[in-house]
Symmetry: C2
Subunit: 399 residues, 2 copies
């Protein structure tokens, strides 16, 4: 007998996936360049040349058994050292290799973080709008993900709702800043207040409430935006990082868990990650990719295109009368739809070959997400489709 819960999941196809399939099919009809596909958060700029060069150099010169050999279960020691050193240099916290666990992307990192601090039945809180995959990531561990409703004013934290939901059952709070889908970066006052509350409630409940900080968009922050280091505010922070977006290599599955050096039992937690791996078939990210990223820790892909695209879209959206919080980073923007049901709104947009994702699955019905990791030229061409859509369907014209 097959396990029913996984079988049941097959019928629930994700909206993002469906829209992306629409875009592909429509692309075959009219040419993909004519489909304004804002559905998927796939990087659109190439990996830095240095990464490719280092990969080729290692393949051409390194002894294959060493290059492709088993990685220790916590990750290759020299790689962990390089990452710790880089984090210390950037953030001024005394990271050492003992605080670093190499993981196969953010999904791998989060899978370890959740299992470190929750037993089945325990609760994890996150804040809307949020990345919908958090649900299967958490729920399939046996823990329970609860979503704090959004602060619609600025997509910072709705503290009132948060404090109400922060009961004794909560063992961890999961944040994602810069945020998918809103593009918003949590401010210093936000993180300060969050940390204060976590400290107070940890004390009151007699157990640590961990802060799990999912940071795959950390390097994509726009000009003039303050993007504070989360671990700086709260000792018991488990940072989950992925190189997918910063280096544009989402398929290579590489990231890490970094436990704040000030966290109680930090080293034990990293060692525990190695044990958790045994139960989930993890066994480390690929050796050659570990070795390659360790050589380009100060590099990123050319991320400037995302800011260019954001500025174009943000301006046009405002001109068209949308309500929209200005993104501080990422490659997402999350405006309010022009009618109450964003699913209907997104469905209508398809007629204009605009692929927009309704915000319902992100915990913010009535909003929609655009992933603008596409060529700027295409963003510009999409504006005409946008104007036509808004005028025809909602009788609005650009200012």
């Amino acid at each position: 007998m097959l396990v029913q819960k996984y079988k049941d999941m097959l019928s629930g196809k994700s909206v993002i996936r469906q829209l992306s399939e629409f875009a592909t099919a429509r692309g075959q009809e009219i040419g993909y360049e004519n489909v304004f596909d804002y559905s998927l958060g796939n990087p659109s700029v190439p990996v830095p040349r240095e990464f490719t060069d280092r990969m080729i150099h290692m393949l051409a010169t390194k002894e294959p058994l060493e290059l492709h050999g088993y990685s220790p279960s916590l990750g290759i020691t020299s790689v962990r050292e390089a990452i710790a050193e880089n984090l210390e240099k950037r953030f001024g916290l005394p990271y050492r290799k003992e605080h670093i666990f190499m993981a196969s992307g953010a999904a791998g990192a989060l899978a370890h973080a959740f299992r470190l601090v929750t037993e089945p039945g325990d609760e994890i809180l996150t804040f809307a709008p949020f990345f919908p995959e958090y649900h299967p990531y958490v729920d399939l561990t046996g823990a329970v993900l609860k979503v704090v409703p959004p602060n619609l004013e600025n997509f910072q934290i709705n503290f009132e709702a948060f404090e109400e939901m922060l009961t004794e059952k909560v063992k961890a709070v999961l944040i994602n800043t810069p945020n998918n889908p809103s593009g918003v970066v949590y401010s210093t006052p936000t993180l300060q207040r969050l940390a204060d509350i976590l400290r107070e409630k940890s004390k009151e409940y007699g157990h640590i409430i961990y802060l799990i900080s999912d940071e795959p968009y950390r390097e994509i922050v726009f000009e003039g935006v303050d993007s504070p280091c989360v671990s700086y505010f709260y000792d018991n922070t488990i940072m989950c990082y992925s190189f997918s977006k910063s280096l544009s290599l989402p398929g290579e599955r590489i990231g890490y868990v970094a436990v704040n050096p000030a966290c109680e039992d930090a080293e034990t937690m990293i060692n525990m990650c190695g044990q958790i791996s045994r139960g989930i078939g993890h066994n480390c990210p690929p050796s050659i990719i570990q070795l390659a990223v360790a050589q380009v820790l100060d590099k990123t892909a050319d991320l400037s295109v995302y800011e260019t695209n954001m500025n174009i879209l943000y301006k046009e959206l405002l001109d068209l009368g949308f309500t929209c919080v200005k993104p501080g980073g990422t490659f997402y923007i999350f405006p309010k739809a022009l009618e109450e049901d964003a699913k209907v709104f997104s469905q209508k947009a398809l007629k204009y070959d605009l692929v927009l994702v309704p915000g319902d699955s992100f915990g913010a019905p009535g909003y929609f997400r655009m992933a603008y990791c596409v060529d700027t030229e295409k963003v510009e061409r999409s504006l005409e489709a946008f104007r036509k859509f808004v005028k025809t369907e909602y009788g609005k014209e650009s200012l």
Copy 2:
């Protein structure tokens, strides 16, 4: 509060790990070339040149966004097609891409297989001697691994004990042929009888008992040894494969699940694997490695050294009076120790710089494992140490 079960695991250091650490430390004293380290199952021959060439070629010529992009959750379509075609050609079963799920090594493949067919509390049976990591792999899912005692005559299956343990609670049987640690390949009569029993009991209990076949050593089979395809005997077989040993790239984490095309619900099972991934942070093996192995499916590293080493060791062990089943494949041999407690035996061997792993954790106390994936020259040099060890400690001389 950190989760206790993972914390507890930290104190139980594996014997293999301890011995390997001894070997490294001793190597620093007397030179690693003088330590006869038979502890670790790490390939000792390089990846085929073609793999390296293909990797470099792709890095030098392919569009980076395509090369390093997200893989679909079941694996890259062209890679799944290539593997299905290759399996069909080799084994004559009608594999299609719909039967293939790309996984990060055998550990990743098994993690999916176990979750496909067992709920917490269900039992999985395996046969001693067995790979000790099966315990955390299974037990941490909530299912229960039970070990059928060994058939000490030839390390095939102890069917009497098996039939006794095959109760209604058993949802899957896990085999590993060619076998780690015995090196034995299950024969056609063994697999035939196993399949007959599984069919009969599935019928009797009214639920399918799946056969999970862990086959990382499939390509390492010695001359004249019949190595039948497990899936050929039993429709409800879930094959778990890894390229770690055949291509000598254990660090790159690449393998697959192949569900027998004749298995009821085969396609559903593969789709379910994509859902299971979401709960364990899997998200596919690295894209570039998937694309590279698909181009060398008919290649292996030069595996002949393992047979050479086996023949040298097997002859010497018999000459020294050891009882030993001749391996049919892998790079392991599993002789009977010269005293009852193999842990004491292995401890004494260390005085002669011979690193042998006691069989207790493999479910066969009184035996010991040698992983002869080392240079032949070193194997030959180790014979003198072996003779001295056996003569000094047990008063036995080579014939």
